[in-house]
Point group: C3
């Protein structure tokens, strides 16, 4: 089992799920493509997807590079925090955007931790 | 020859090409930066680029992780389907957005197949 | 020392920095989420982030794949040009969008060079 690769695959699947939720919100709240705004609930789904896109392009390289230098299970464990943080972010943002802070922090900080681990690993290698 | 790496490079070049088409549409249809809307034909070019960005961040990790566990030529073959699907998506969306479904499916399903291949490979490794 | 991995980590950190600048611009120029437009200076910060996102998803795979085939220090050196080009792009775009061309070119061309290096490497491997 390569835990880190499993986490990487799950992070991509989670992002695809957020994309499906945007498509669903288009139908539910009548926001036809190519518009990317028009109903508060659609805007929330769209912002969840875009914010996750921005973080995913940081998380995946950080995760995979950190795993070059540190034990697979530990790095994967930090990656699981990211997955949980993003899930919480999505649920909280959908209910009430003002409560998104905790989920955002719980996905940003693991990403920063993995970046530091990757950077330190690359320097001392 | 590393076929998978060649497909990865071509997928990035295809995305850059879609970005150049957005720049060209800015000039042709008079949509000055930083606006990202304003003319139907510009909107189509911009949506092609953004939708490809969303899928590319899924496709590239899926492709490269699947290649860790499965034969290079087979994984690259699935990757070529993605390239053709995206090319069709771009041509169809530009002509008539309502016909974009086939090209979208032909690029999404190979990506999902690669994700599953990567996930299964990581679990049984 | 893995110079290429250090450059990859720095490129992600630079992108996160541009994201922080967008958050800061939201506060400074009073553009509340989920709006992504509303004040010229906010728009500049947002375009710097989005344009860097588009290029980062090209740069990171190009950098890491090129490093599979060519000497680590040379590939990392090209990657440093990208980092400097993006820094110049950000500073110039913030001051005066019409002067962003040089920084854009100095980050695009290293990315294209790395893509070619990765593609050639994958073909002759």
């Amino acid at each position: 089992m390569n835990y880190v690769h499993i986490v990487a695959v799950l992070a991509v699947i989670q992002f695809i799920y957020f994309g499906i939720m945007v498509g669903r919100a288009r139908g539910l709240y009548d926001v036809a493509a190519p518009a990317t705004s028009g109903h508060e609930m659609f805007d929330r789904a769209f912002r969840i997807q875009m914010n996750t896109l921005e973080l995913l392009v940081c998380f995946l390289p950080a995760l995979l590079l950190a795993a070059v230098y540190w034990p697979n299970a530990i790095i994967a464990g930090v990656g699981v925090l990211y997955l949980l943080g993003r899930a919480l972010y999505s649920v909280a943002y959908t209910k009430d955007p003002s409560t998104r802070g905790l989920g955002f922090a719980l996905s940003l900080f693991p990403t920063l931790g993995l970046l530091i681990a990757a950077g330190v690993g690359a320097v001392i290698a």
